[in-house]
C-alpha cells in the first residue's frame, strides 16, 4: 500500500460477503447469476445483500437505462449508415454489463473505459452529442473527464488498465475513499499492459476494479485464442480475487460491482470481474461478423438477451405495465432524437484547430507550422478562423 493514510476510517469491522477467505468466489468456474435467462430470480446467500435495495422502482429504472442505451446504439448505427458518423462501435448485447456496473458507481468514483462504453458514459452524465462527436470525427475526445469522472474513450487495447491503476495509486496517496473502475474486453487480457496493471495493483493494493466484459469476440478472434483458462482464473495468479458473473444479468453485475468497489474503498485492494456477455453486433460498423461467426451462436445468445431477461423478470413480478413500456419507449425515442439532432447540427472544427492543444505551453515548432499554414490558407483569400474547441 502506498500510504499509511489509505484505508483509514472506512474499514468496516463487520465481515463482508465473500471476504472471509482469500478467494471464496472462484469456485469451480461457477457463474454468479441472480436472474435466470427465463427471468426467474435466483437467490444467493451473499450477493443478495448487495442488491437488497433494488425494489420495483429501481428495476424499472434499470430497464429504462438498458433500453435507452440500446436505442442510442441503434440510432448511432443508423447515423453511421447515413454518413453522419464515420464509425460506431456497437454495444448491442452488453447493456446489462454496462448498466449494471455503471449504476453501481458513486459520483466521485473514476472510470477508465475502452471505446465501447457509450452506455457507461450516458450513465455518468455525458451528453449524447459528446458521445457522438468522437465518432463523427469532430474531436479526439468526447466528454470532459473531470466533469463526469470518466476518462475519454481509449482505443489502444488494455492501455487504460494501467491508467486506472495509477489513478488508484493517486487515490491512496490522497487518502481518499474513491474507487476506480477499468473497463476492457476479453481481447485486452492478452495485452502486457493488463498483466502489468494487475502486478502494480496487487503490489500496491490499489483501489481499482478490473471489469472485463468478455463478449467472446475480439473483432474476429474468439476468446479461446486469448486464453486456455477462464479469464477469471488469470487474476488469482497475481493475488487478485476474481468473480465470474453472468454479464447479461443486470442484478448479478450490480451485486458484483458494488461488492468489488466497496472492497476497494475499504482498503481491500483490487478485484477482477469477468462479466460473461456477448457482442451481438459487429466489432464496429466497419466489421462484417458473418465472415467469421456461426449464426447459430448469435441465435443462442439472443435467447439470453439482457433486456429480454429483465423484461421477463419484470413481467413475472407484474411490473411490465403498459405505462412502464410507454414511458421507457418515449424516453428512448427522445434521447435518440436528441442524439440525431445534435449530431447532424454539430459545427465542424476549423482548419487551424489542428494545431491547438498539442502542448499546454507555447511551442516554437507548432507555432511556426501554424503560422505558415494560416498564410497558405489566406493565399486562397478565404477567411481563416479558429473554431470553438
Amino acid at each position: 500500500m502506498l500510504t499509511d493514510k489509505a484505508g483509514k476510517g472506512v474499514q468496516n469491522d463487520a465481515p463482508r460477503p465473500g471476504q472471509s477467505a482469500q478467494n471464496p468466489l472462484r469456485t469451480g468456474g461457477n457463474l454468479l447469476q441472480l436472474v435466470s435467462p427465463e427471468g426467474e430470480r435466483i437467490s444467493h446467500p451473499e450477493f443478495d445483500l448487495w442488491i437488497k435495495d433494488i425494489g420495483d422502482e429501481q428495476l424499472g429504472s434499470l430497464f429504462e437505462d438498458m433500453t435507452v442505451i440500446r436505442r442510442i446504439d441503434t440510432e448511432a448505427t443508423a447515423l453511421q449508415r447515413q454518413g453522419e458518423l464515420a464509425l460506431w462501435p456497437p454495444l448491442l448485447g452488453q447493456e446489462a454489463a454496462q448498466i449494471g456496473s455503471s449504476r453501481s458507481l458513486r459520483d466521485d468514483d473514476f472510470v477508465f473505459p475502452s471505446y465501447r462504453e457509450s452506455g457507461v458514459a450516458y450513465i455518468r452524465g455525458a451528453h449524447v452529442s459528446e458521445i457522438a462527436q468522437v465518432w463523427r470525427g469532430n474531436a479526439l475526445y468526447s466528454w470532459d473527464p473531470q466533469r463526469i469522472n470518466m476518462a475519454t474513450p481509449q482505443i489502444i487495447i488494455g492501455s487504460q488498465s494501467l491508467h486506472a491503476t495509477g489513478y488508484a495509486m493517486g487515490v491512496q496517496l490522497d487518502g481518499a475513499s474513491t474507487a476506480v473502475l477499468a473497463y476492457f474486453g476479453d481481447g485486452a487480457t492478452s495485452e502486457g499492459d493488463v498483466s502489468e496493471a494487475m502486478v502494480f495493483a496487487a503490489s500496491f493494493q490499489a483501489p481499482v476494479v478490473f471489469f472485463c466484459q468478455n463478449n467472446h469476440w475480439a473483432i474476429s478472434e474468439p476468446v479461446r485464442v486469448q486464453s486456455h483458462v477462464q479469464l477469471a482464473d488469470r487474476p488469482t495468479g497475481f493475488g487478485i480475487p476474481s468473480l465470474r458473473v453472468d454479464g447479461n444479468d443486470v442484478l448479478a453485475v450490480m451485486a458484483a460491482t458494488r461488492w468489488a468497489m466497496d472492497r476497494a474503498r475499504s482498503g481491500g485492494g483490487p478485484t477482477f470481474i469477468e462479466a460473461v456477455t456477448y457482442r451481438m453486433g459487429p466489432h464496429t460498423t466497419a466489421d462484417d461478423p458473418t465472415r467469421y461467426r456461426d449464426p447459430n451462436e448469435l441465435e443462442d445468445w439472443a435467447a439470453r438477451d439482457p433486456i429480454l431477461r429483465l423484461r421477463r423478470l419484470l413481467d413475472a413480478k407484474g411490473l411490465l405495465t403498459e405505462e412502464l413500456e410507454g414511458r421507457v419507449k418515449a424516453k428512448a425515442d427522445a434521447v435518440a432524437a436528441e442524439l440525431r439532432t445534435s449530431c447532424v447540427n454539430m459545427p465542424d472544427p476549423q482548419p487551424l484547430d489542428v494545431f491547438n492543444h498539442v502542448y499546454s505551453t507555447p511551442n516554437s515548432w507548432i507555432e511556426r507550422q501554424k503560422d505558415h499554414y494560416s498564410r497558405y490558407l489566406k493565399s486562397f483569400n478565404q477567411p481563416v478562423e479558429e473554431g470553438a474547441l
Binding site: P145, Q146, T152, H163, G166, V171, Y359
Partner: protein, 336 residues
C-alpha cells in the same frame, strides 16, 4: 555555489522539487533504498518516504502507464527508466498516451510527467545500456525532449522539466555522471534560461558546431583544439532537442556559414538530419558548404571494445570541421 557531480546535481534538483511540490512523486526500478543504479536518487526515499519515492515492479510500460493515471489524478510523476535501452517496453505508453493525452482531451487533461533516461555510451556496458534513442521521441509530437550537458543545467532543468505542464523526456549523459561542476543551488527558476532554449557555450566565427548531452564536452574540447590551429568554432549546446531552438542555430550559421552536428545516435533519420535540413531551408543562402554530420554509425550499439570507434570523438569532430572548411580531411584526402 557548490561543486557537485552531475549525479548529485540531479539529486539536488529532485530533492528541491520534492520539497517544493507535494504532488511530485518519483517512480522507478531500484530508486528507493538502493538510490538507483547510478545513485541519482540516493537518500531521497529515506527523506521523503516510500509513498513519494516509489520502488516499482520491473515493468517499464507499467511505470509510465501508472504515471499517466497519477497525472490524471493531479500528480507530477518523475519516472526513471533505468537505462536507455530499457525504454522500449514503455514506448507505447509514451507515444500513444503521454504524448497525446493533452491533444486528445483538448487541454482538459495535462500530463506533467518527467521521464528521466540515463543515455549514451562510453562506460563499457553490455548491450542495451549505451543507446541514444532520443530521435524516436523528438519525432513524437506532444513530448518535450531535453538533454543536459553539465551539472548546473542538470540541476536547473530537472526542476524545470518537473514544473512543466507538458511531458518531458530528460536525457542524462551517464558517462558524465561523475564529472564535477559549479552549481548555483539558490538559482531562481524564473530567472533561469527557459527549458527550450539553446546555449552558445563557446563563441566562434568560422564553423558552427551543434552538440547536446555527452558530446558537448567533446565539442568544447574540439573547439579548443581547433583554436590552436587558428580555426574559430562556435559550439552550441542544444539543451532542448524538441523543440530545437533554431533561432540560436540560425544566427550562428548566418555568421559562420558552416554547420557541423554531432550526436552519438546513428546518422540516418537522426536529429542531425533534421537540423541539417531545417538549417538548409532557413539559411541556404548563408551556407558556404554542405552541413556535416558526425554521428554514431548506423549499426546496433557495438560491444564495448569497439565503442570508441562508434562514438564521435574529438578527432572525428575536427575532421568534420575541416570538411566544412575545405581543409584536408579524411574524405577529400590531404589535397583538400
Amino acid at each position: 555555489m557548490s561543486k557537485l557531480t552531475f549525479a548529485r546535481a540531479i539529486n539536488a534538483g529532485l530533492r528541491k522539487s520534492l520539497e517544493n511540490d507535494p504532488k511530485v512523486v518519483l517512480m522507478g526500478e531500484d530508486i528507493g533504498s538502493l538510490g538507483g543504479v547510478f545513485r541519482v536518487t540516493d537518500g531521497l526515499q529515506k527523506d521523503f518516504g516510500k509513498h513519494r519515492v516509489i520502488d516499482t515492479p520491473l515493468a517499464e510500460s507499467g511505470i509510465i502507464g501508472t504515471a499517466v493515471g497519477l497525472a490524471y489524478r493531479g500528480y507530477r510523476p518523475v519516472c526513471e527508466i533505468q537505462f536507455d535501452g530499457f525504454i522500449y517496453p514503455a514506448f507505447d505508453q509514451i507515444v500513444s498516451q503521454v504524448a497525446k493525452m493533452h491533444y486528445r482531451t483538448q487541454g482538459r487533461v495535462k500530463m506533467p510527467i518527467t521521464i528521466r533516461v540515463p543515455f549514451g555510451g562510453g562506460i563499457g556496458s553490455p548491450e542495451h545500456h549505451s543507446e541514444s534513442p532520443e530521435a524516436y521521441f523528438t519525432h513524437t509530437s506532444g513530448l518535450r525532449v531535453v538533454a543536459v550537458s553539465n551539472p548546473q543545467d542538470a540541476y536547473t532543468m530537472i526542476q524545470q522539466a518537473i514544473a512543466s505542464d507538458d511531458p518531458v523526456l530528460y536525457f542524462e549523459p551517464k558517462r558524465r555522471y561523475h564529472d564535477k561542476g559549479d552549481v548555483e543551488e539558490s538559482l531562481d527558476l524564473s530567472n533561469a534560461m527557459p527549458l527550450d532554449k539553446a546555449a552558445v557555450v563557446n563563441a566562434g566565427s568560422d564553423v558552427t558546431l551543434v552538440a547536446y548531452g555527452p558530446l558537448v564536452k567533446t565539442a568544447k574540447d574540439a573547439a579548443q583544439a581547433a583554436a590552436d590551429e587558428g580555426v574559430s568554432v562556435e559550439v552550441i549546446d542544444l539543451r532542448s532537442l524538441a523543440p530545437v531552438d533554431y533561432p540560436v542555430v540560425e544566427a550562428s550559421v548566418r555568421k559562420t556559414g558552416r554547420l557541423v552536428i554531432t550526436h552519438e545516435a546513428g546518422q540516418s533519420g537522426g536529429l542531425g538530419a533534421e537540423i541539417a535540413a531545417s538549417i538548409t531551408e532557413r539559411c541556404f543562402n548563408y551556407l558556404e558548404s554542405a552541413p556535416v554530420r558526425i554521428t554514431g554509425f548506423d549499426v546496433p550499439y557495438p560491444y564495448s571494445k569497439l565503442e570508441m570507434h562508434h562514438l564521435p570523438d574529438l578527432d572525428r569532430i575536427l575532421d568534420g570541421v575541416d570538411r566544412t572548411l575545405g581543409r584536408p580531411n579524411s574524405l577529400s584526402g590531404l589535397e583538400g
